[in-house]
Amino acid sequence: MKSMRDIALTILLFCASVLAWEGIVRILEVPTFIFPAPSKVAAALWNGFASGLYQKHLSHTLLETLLGFLLGSALGFFLGAAVALNRYVEYFFYPYIVMFQSLPKVALAPLIVVWFGLGLKSQVVNAALVAFFPLLVNTMVGLKSADEDRVNLMRSLAASDSQIFWMLRLPNALPFVMAGLDVAMIFALIGAIVAEFVGARAGLGMLIQSMNFNMDVSGQFSVLLILSIVGLLLNRCILLIRRRILFWDPAEKERLDQERIAL
């Protein structure tokens, strides 16, 4: 557990590094368009939110990310389940999956903009495409990983295949699925931002791009700050769900203990 002293020390260290950053930039007279001082970044952040500009772009990026995440992970889950449960689906699809998986999905972003335009659709598709694979692979592995003794137990009880799926294989796959969701969430954010870089009418990625043209480096820093906080919060949401669902998973408990030590 964190003691009061540790908390105080953490805050102190943070303040000291921000002050050092500010000091160094001022003393060395680093131009703002190369590396802005924290005060400039804070000002950009304030102005962005005060004008309502950031809220508009932030909500756009969040919507793309969440829609892409839901779409991609749902498709990934169902196709992964189909591959794991059906030998023929596995036989025909698996080679393509392997081939497609080794491709960096963000490289498809320019094509997707050509196909789906500059609107929300193309960013959602791109986010979904990137979020799809972690779910696909993890669901596949998870559903196939049921312990043989447990399968034998279910068989000895004269359980049907669908009962073995619902009562054993699916719950058994949940730790894998949740780990996939964890990755997919962050991947969806990356997919959305990259799609915005390539071409979009709104979103934080597009904002970064346009700030870069205008050499507004403080603005870019402030948007990066927002993005890292968004990423962190999205990740926390998944973690909370994960803890509720996987209360029984020994690996989850181990992680919890490690996090406690890390804090």
Binding site: D147, D149, R150, N152, L153, M154, R155, S156, L157, A158, A159, Q163, M167, L168, P171, L174, W248, D249, P250
Partner: protein, 256 residues
């Protein structure tokens, strides 16, 4: 009617270089309500025999009947206890016990009281809301035994159920199993590689040879019940253990 009737049963496993004979021409029968232990060295096909009886594995040759009908697949009138407890970690103790009820759709409500009674019979009163990982190995195996009894099967098949436990817990579990058996009057087929455990628990001990498993001897254990742990020090008990071990010394190795 015989609870288990096995006639010239053989099981071969195909491997890359020829096939491995796990069981060869085994014949024996078990009466209703009898406690029979099967003992033999590692790899003599004991577990294969149990899987055939549980309907998980098909025999290569021969016939196996349970209560008069040939085994064609898993059946609902048997309860199986495996070497490890095989509990589902996402189910509480009570839900694990009720798994056969859920699978066979026998009605949870009607079996709730029985589940509680059985749990207290094996000394797990007050643990029904706990999860498997919160229990010790011995307690987990008791949950597994309770689960095997919940749908009131006529027969219990046990595959070295206490093999993974330490010696003290194991003796305690033997006592408890005897108590449950005297209380519930099930036919039990109990697989073990411990001669002492077999003699202590069983009415009859079937001794198998090393691979391929053949029936070497069928020993009647005429020690009155209930048996206390002290009987292990009696010369009578020693004589049974000694005679069984003598058979093995010529053939192979087993634990005491």
């Amino acid at each position: 009617m015989e609870a288990i009737a096995i006639k010239e049963l053989s099981k071969l496993y195909p491997t890359r270089d020829g096939s491995v004979h796990a069981l060869e021409q085994i014949s024996f029968s078990v009466s209703e309500g009898e406690f029979v232990a099967v003992i033999g060295p590692s790899g003599c096909g004991k577990s294969t025999l149990l899987k055939v009886l549980a309907g998980i594995l098909r025999p290569s040759k021969g016939e196996a009947r349970l209560r008069g009908t040939p085994i064609t697949g898993p059946r609902r009138d048997i309860g199986v206890v495996f070497q490890s407890p095989v509990l589902l970690p996402w189910r509480s103790v009570l839900d694990n016990v009720l798994l056969p009820i859920d699978v066979q759709r026998l009605g949870r409500d009607r079996h709730l009281k029985l589940a509680m009674d059985l749990l207290s019979l094996v000394g797990l009163e007050g643990f029904e809301r706990r999860y498997p990982w919160e229990l010790s190995g011995g307690m987990q195996q008791r949950v597994a035994i309770t689960r095997a009894l919940i749908h009131d099967p006529a027969m219990l098949l046990m595959d070295e159920p206490f093999g993974a436990l330490d010696a003290m817990t194991r003796e305690q579990m033997n006592l408890e199993l005897q108590r449950v058996w005297l209380d519930r009057k099930k036919t039990v087929l109990f697989i073990t590689h411990s001669i002492a455990e077999a003699v202590f628990l069983a009415d009859r001990v079937l001794v198998l040879t090393p691979r391929p498993g053949r029936l070497m001897e069928d020993v009647q254990v005429k020690i009155p019940r209930p048996r206390a742990l002290e009987i292990m020090n009696f010369p009578e008990f020693g004589a049974y253990v000694h005679s069984i071990r003598a058979r093995f010394n010529a053939k192979g190795v087993v634990d005491a």
